[in-house]
Amino acid sequence: MTLRLNRRNFVLGSTTLLAAPFIPKLARASNSIVAAAFPGTWEDAFRSIVAPIAAQSGVDVTIAPALAQDQVGRMMASAGSPPYDALLVSPGQTAMLEEAGLIEEIDPSRLENWDLLIESAKTPFGPHVTVEVNGIAYNPETVPTPSGYLDLFENPAFEGRAAWIGFGSNTATMAWVELAKLLGGGADNMQPVFDLLAEKIDWIGAIANSGNAQQTMYQQGEIDVFMASTGNVARLRSLGLPCNFAHPQSGSPAIPVAIHMTKGASNPDAVYAYMDAAISTAAQSQLAEPPTGYVPTNSEVPFTDLIREFVTPETLANAVYPDWAAINRNRAEWTAEFDRVVAL
């Protein structure tokens, strides 16, 4: 067989080759959206629980894993043509997105399940899908129950056993702010924390780059303590690992997690359907079960046994809601200083 390659065939072939990466996009159903979710447990849960419920409304949801700060970064990088139709972020990022005009106010009348939400979960830019309660994850077989963040730097039982991360993570940032308060500082004065870090840097077991890296290290027995949400602990338990959750004496930092519609979303109707799916009784009932154990914001969904083990109405009432405006104001400076203090 001989291949006759003339100019016309060559140009046709080359054009087809160059267009190949765009063909799946063109073929994608018009009722499809891309929704960001935090990597790991969140991504799995939204892909396996929320997306199928949205699909019942004829909406095809592609879950794209991205940390909250990464979502903001990517949105800022391509504001005219947003890479996501829906975002999953916390109040700190919501404030940044709102200020930059990157998210849309929603019309609650478009959400069938809106009235089922608890009042605090209703915001102009979208519904809260859960309230994440943060604290300290620890291995009950190797270390005692930590009483709080400062205990991790004072009790010899935790020397070399606790892992921390920098200010890129919301969970870690809330823990650092609480620690700063205990040391006489706060969201506008992180210096006491940096002084403590400089003094006790060798006391710390590890400083990882992300929450997921910490969980991997915990699985491998490299560390026994890390800053975590109740969801992280539930996930590790579902993998058969001994893991308990300790509420710091100073109060457990709590952080709502919201879905937002991006400005310029390709298909607003589909985003509403996705939001509605995420706050539906069906989705939140499943999300409240192991391995996720997310605290429901839908008033029809009861706290499961797993959630009750970590969170009671009292804990939620005593939870600490950080000042995200102050955190956003200082986060860049803290991040730069943190690197300088911990760098080898």
Binding site: L5, N6, R7, F10, S14, L17, L18, L67, Q69, D70, V72, G73, M76, A77, I165, G166, F167, G168, A206, I207, A208, N209, S210, A213, T216, M217, Q220, G221, E222, R331, A332, T335, A336, D339, R340, V342, A343, L344
Partner: protein, 277 residues
């Protein structure tokens, strides 16, 4: 038939290069010299170069690349020599063993190293069993651990070019040297090494470029206390949202690692070295 076949065939590649490499590079260059007021300014470069911590990170990144190059050479050249001396069956085995890691994702290989370097991993356990360490230890988040992981990950980039050269090398040259009384080391130094040298240089360029920019491995194995340029760039982009600064840092990384790679390439093209090949 194509009258000017050569030009037509390289056209798609050239278009791809312009669209996917030169154009983004241009955007990066412009962004790096854009000040807060939109005016052209070198402030980002000045800010980076005036910061001793940032300059330290740049040097650490270059030194890391050089250390990995050295480690890969120490491990890779003997493997290539084993290939040279092995029979057909062993040659296939060595080739497969070298290629196999490349068929696995870099991320998967990096995560496998978490287990290997950990407190309960085989390295730590073996050292304790052999009585070389009194207690289990972790190489995670240490430079030694990072160099070990990068060495294994980058090894094929050096071994494959050398194997490619040795596979076509004339064995009679070594036979002749031996017949003329050259000992093994002399054979290696005067016959095999000169043949391998251009491939070693090519491998060094690849290993250095890959080791200095391997964000995932730096991040997962090195942790947050070992800071290298890719993490520095990520921090500026993903956490601080300082894109002009990130562009300037990226450009400095490109220039500094590029300078080392150009130096290695020029060395490989050196008249005396080229004549040996």
């Amino acid at each position: 038939m194509l009258r000017q076949g050569g030009t037509a065939f390289i056209l798609p590649m050239m278009v791809m290069m312009v669209l996917c490499f030169l154009a983004p590079l241009g955007v990066l260059a412009v962004a790096s010299i854009t000040g807060p007021d939109g005016q052209v300014s070198l402030a980002n470069y000045r800010q980076f170069l005036d910061d001793s911590f940032a300059v330290g990170v740049l040097w650490n990144t270059i030194f890391l690349g050089l250390k990995v190059v050295a480690a890969v050479t120490l491990l890779g050249v003997p493997i290539a020599l084993m290939y040279w001396h092995a029979g057909p069956r062993w040659r296939t085995l060595i080739l497969i063993a070298t290629l196999l890691p490349m068929l696995t994702s870099n991320v998967v290989r990096t995560f496998a190293w978490i287990v290997i370097l950990g407190r309960n991993g085989p390295i730590s356990q073996s050292m304790v069993e052999l009585g070389l360490s009194p207690r289990p230890f972790s190489l995670l988040f240490t430079e030694t651990g990072l160099i070990m992981a990068l060495t294994q990950i980058e090894l094929p980039l050096l071994v494959l070019p050398i194997i490619a050269v040795l596979a076509t090398a004339d064995r009679r040259l070594v036979d002749a040297a031996e017949m003329l009384g050259a000992a093994r080391w002399r054979c290696f130094l005067t016959v095999l090494l000169p043949m391998m040298t251009p491939a070693i240089f090519a491998g060094w360029v690849l290993v250095f470029a890959s080791a200095t920019t391997s964000f995932v491995t730096h991040s997962v194995i090195g942790g947050a206390r070992l800071i290298y340029m890719p993490q520095f760039v990520y921090r500026e982009v993903g956490i601080l949202f300082q894109w002009p600064m990130a562009a300037a840092i990226s450009f400095l990384l490109l220039v500094s690692t590029g300078a080392v790679m150009i130096a290695l390439t020029l060395l490989a093209r050196h008249r005396r070295l080229a004549a040996c090949a």
